[in-house]
Amino acid sequence: MGAFAYVAPTTVAEALGVLEEHASQGKRAQILAGGTDLLVQLQSVDRTPRTIVDIKKLEEANRVEVGADETFVGAAVASAVLNENEELKQRFPGLIEAADLIGSTQIQGRATIAGNLCNASPAGDTIPALIAIGAVCVIASESGNRELAVEDFVTGVGTNALQDGEFLVGLKIPNPPARTADAYLRFIPRTEMDIAVAGAGVALTLDDAGTCTAARVSIGAVAPTALLVTAAADALVGTSVDDDALAAAAAACSAAASPITDKRGTVEYRRKVVGVLCKRAAAIARDRAQA
């Protein structure tokens, strides 16, 4: 493991101070939430020295609030905590499913959604799920908090919109209207312990007649960043989310994908499977919204 210094600030201001100090001196500081990506990197990928800034002591980063208008999930909240929150599961079953796909039970005791997002892997499972439900990043900075839609947060493979001196303190999710539900599916060759070859998150709203009035579709692992596919959403809106609509949405996802061929799958395979996942996730979301 590479050498590092460790600090655990207890206030957001203190954390920002540490980041600012490092930025001004040209020294490297890195946020630690669950550490499930960071520790692996420190061990094997990039062992250069740095200061680790642990945000698990920050009250704000540990807050989970299911409010009247919106839900807030702090950046240090472990997946295991979310998985056991029945209110959240009711509201955002797709997001919790996505979080539950990452890591084993032991890893989920540490892993965080915010960490998955900041790590900015093209295959991060919670990212399409967050985009589908319209989640917004709450970013702490010296000049106060700023907000940014999740689909605008990830800027490339392993890069995000955080500026020097900033950190992600939590995620804000608008409360879903009535008869709204989300779902997330990914494809892996095994049942566990794997990374998405493709992923699709869908959130949709039905009216009393069962017609889709709003939808958001996001796909992962088929482009440098997770994509918001409005053409797929458009294919669902105004329909009863029947087989034709599902096939159209699937085709839109396949068309929007710009995957690569690598050890995990070919371009053709990923294009096809991301459509299949969109179709299946949309059908699950539809059934949930009707329930």
């Binding site: 050498a3 060759p189 095994r190 312990m193 050890k263 799958g265 395979y269 499977v273």
Partner: protein, 753 residues
């Protein structure tokens, strides 16, 4: 079927003696030993798959603070040619060059230098300071490419062996092998149906969970001790001595507990380096591979290209078969093409056949043994072809195999006549198994395949010590990989007539017990078991002698029954039987402690056959396979400890299914393995597999006192084809190449539509 024999301990399922320490983390594995002043040794590995080494300069590394030793190929003695010995086998000079490259690197990850330093991070920095100049050559990356006439050569002195005449030019084909009988052309003419197939399987790794690790220390007198995880510490001692030019008696090897080997821990990688680094530094040196090292630089099994052609009459009688089997050896000769050629048609009666096999050099890691080396790839080819044949004949696949199955007296395709074997019994048991006729869910498929492995005997030693209270210590020389200590305790208890709980078994180091070949070839329960039984019989003979002396009768007037000496029938002696505990308690008065021993070269290892039934379904939109059920039927001869026989069957099925479905070495065009980790080298995880149902068939091996046949390797032979045949059944699409990964299956399904 099995004779009814009334055993008291054989066939029971007691808890293994090493179990508690393993589940509580107390057990000491290869990397667990730490010594005072110990250094960490690390290896610099080649970034090229094929290159000439122009120079290696370790001087900057040696000059660093905290670095105590640095070695490269020039620091090793030139090893003479000759057989290295052991299951991994091969030429001494090749093993030497595999452990540390000399003039050439032959695969990405090939060791080119090693350092020892006070910390792992200093060792890493020292590796970065080593200068190596390469002259990069074009890599040869698959078996077909390597066999082509104009292929770049790995070894300009490689002239194909086993040809009638030495070829006039070198090639990458290190050796060929042929087996033939009858007249193949006439056989095919007599056939009503002929099937042919062409099958490719990429390189695959054993995937043992414990990476290779060792600690070595050598004193000023040149006496070294090495602790390591190994399948055979005696053979590691011999290999290390040969590679370093040391006297065997100056090397002591202690086998740690071992976290899996499957054949992969039968050859040395780190041990000679650690000894040399310890010699240069004067300190103990520990070396541990990372998982990435294990994938890139230890021996996986061969990638293969096989072609098979089989002809049959309408009633299913096979008339002729041919096999063309090309095995990747990796960087040095020694692919398991021989066993592959000998196994491919072994289960079947064949008048006419021709088998041709090739041992081919490629710029990939040198292959090592992997459970039934060479057999799974060859069996995949013939068992898939037989499945196609059964479909064409509209015949039940088990019936087709029964029609042609070998039995006692059949001349095996590889030469000898079979003694008593249990193939037909396995086929009948599979056919009668409820899982074979259980209805399948909609869209699912069922596949059947058979497997065969010879098993081996080889040398084993054992001692049996009787403690002063009559409890028993068994000392053997075979590392316990699959529960063999428990099996040794069972066989000792059965033979002596004592309780299992009064027997303990331990694995002695190279200085505390006699020579024993590797734990491999499914030989330990068979051969070392025989040595333990003989050592117990030695004890019994001594006990009888002491009882005779105590009673004042002749030795032949004493018998051993249910763990005690009794007067023979008709002997007029009014004496109380003497138990082992009685004799032990008075041993100081009758001649001293009781020690039994045996050493042997076991003959008559019984072949083990298996039949597997695989149920699975395929997601037609993603190509993903879900294994729904798997039934393994196998002849164990006699299951000494049925739990560990089932464990072998389930483990082999799991590895075979992984190989069939997702496991493969993926190389880029430069010969760099792209998936050197368990994330992308996909062995199955627990949730990928159903409970694997086992049925142990017992057709006793006449050459073993309890009828044991080796069981460790046969279980991996049939699953590849069983899965492939189930995919064919589920989808209607025949996919000849492995793995049956989602992209390959989806492509095949889409292409068929």
């Amino acid at each position: 079927m099995a004779e009814a024999v009334d055993y008291k301990v054989v066939g029971t399922r007691p808890i293994r003696p090493d179990g508690v320490d393993k589940v509580t983390g107390r057990a000491q594995y290869g990397a667990d030993l730490n010594l005072p002043n110990m250094l960490y040794g690390k290896v610099l590995r080649s970034p090229h798959a094929h290159a000439k080494i122009k120079s290696v300069d370790v001087s900057k590394a040696l000059a660093m603070d905290g670095v105590y030793a640095a070695v490269s190929g020039a620091d090793f003695p030139t090893a003479a040619h000759g057989d290295i010995g052991g299951e991994g086998g091969g030429d001494v000079a090749d093993v030497a060059k595999n452990v540390m490259a000399r003039d050439k690197v032959l695969y990405h990850g090939h060791a080119v230098a090693a350092v020892a330093a006070t910390s792992q991070s200093i060792a890493d920095a020292a590796l970065a300071a080593i200068d190596v100049e390469y002259d990069v050559l074009t890599p040869v990356l698959d078996v077909d490419e390597a066999m082509a006439d104009d292929a770049p050569l790995l070894d300009e002195n490689c002239f194909t062996a086993n040809l009638p005449e030495k070829p006039d030019k070198p090639s990458n084909i290190a050796a060929v092998m042929q087996l033939a009988r009858g007249n193949v052309e006439e056989g095919f003419e007599a056939a009503d149906v002929i099937v042919e197939g062409d099958y490719n399987i990429p390189m695959a790794h054993q995937g043992y969970i414990e990476p290779h690790a060792c600690t070595a220390t050598i004193n000023e007198a040149g006496q070294a001790t090495v602790w390591c995880c190994t399948q055979g510490h005696f053979e590691f001692r011999s290999m290390t001595a040969k590679l370093l030019g040391m006297e065997i008696a100056d090397l002591k090897f202690i086998a740690s507990e071992i976290g899996g080997g499957f054949g992969g821990k039968t050859v040395v990688y780190l041990e000679p380096l650690a000894v040399l680094l310890s010699k240069q530094s004067g300190r103990p040196v520990k070396m541990m591979m990372t998982r990435e090292d294990v994938f890139r630089a230890t021996g996986p099994t061969s990638g293969t290209h096989c072609k098979v052609k089989v002809g049959a009459k309408k009633d299913g009688t096979l008339t002729a078969a041919t096999a063309w089997l090309a095995y990747e050896a990796g960087a040095f000769a020694g692919a398991p093409m021989g066993p592959g050629a000998m196994c491919v048609f072994a289960p079947y009666e064949l008048e006419n056949f021709h088998i041709e096999a090739f041992d081919v050099l490629v710029n990939k890691p040198k292959v090592a043994a992997y459970r039934a080396p060479g057999a799974p790839q060859a069996a995949h080819a013939i068992e898939v072809a037989l499945d196609d044949l059964a479909r064409q004949l509209d015949m039940d696949p088990i019936d087709l195999r029964l029609k042609n199955a070998v039995s006692e007296g059949t001349q095996a395709s590889y030469g000898p006549k079979f003694p008593r074997i249990g193939f037909k019994e396995c086929l009948e048991a599979a056919k009668a198994h409820p899982n074979y006729t259980k209805p399948l869910p909609e869209g699912a498929g069922r596949g059947v395949a058979a497997g065969f492995w010879f098993n081996v005997g080889m040398q084993s030693s054992a001692e049996v010590h009787i403690n002063e209270n009559g409890s028993v210590i068994v000392v053997e020389g075979n590392p316990d990989i699959g529960g063999s200590r428990a099996s040794m305790c069972i066989m000792a208890a059965e033979t002596l007539g004592v309780e299992y709980d009064s027997v303990r078994a331990l694995v002695g180091d190279t200085e505390s017990t006699g020579f024993s070949n590797v734990t491999g070839g499914s030989r330990t329960t068979f051969a070392t078991g025989m040595a333990v039984i003989e050592a117990c019989e030695d004890i019994i003979a001594q006990c009888k002698a002491r009882a005779a002396a105590t009673w004042g009768v002749d030795e032949d007037q004493v018998e051993w029954e249910d763990g005690q000496a009794v007067p023979a029938p008709g002997v007029n002696a009014d004496v109380k039987p003497l138990s082992l505990a009685d004799i032990a308690a008075s041993a100081h008065k009758t001649g001293g402690p009781l020690l039994g021993r045996a050493s042997l070269n076991a003959q008559g290892a019984g072949a083990s056959f298996a039949v597997n039934i695989c149920d699975l379904q395929v997601d037609a939109e993603t190509g993903k396979v879900d294994v729904l059920g798997f039934t393994a039927v196998q002849d164990a001869g006699r299951a000494i400890h049925p739990d560990y026989v089932e464990g072998q069957m389930q483990g082999g099925a799991s590895q075979g299914l992984g190989w069939a479905l997702n496991e493969e070495y993926i190389f880029d065009k430069n010969g760099v393995m792209e998936n050197a980790g368990f994330l992308d080298y996909r062995i199955p995880v627990a949730s990928d597999l159903p409970m694997i149902d086992c049925e142990i068939v017992e057709v006793p091996n006449p050459s073993h006192p309890y009828g044991v046949r080796g069981v460790g390797e046969t279980p991996i032979v049939a699953p590849l084809a069983a899965a492939a045949n189930a995919v064919r059944d589920a989808t209607g699409v025949r996919v000849n190449d492995l793995p049956l990964s989602p992209p390959r299956l989806l492509d095949a399904i889409d292409s068929a539509e």
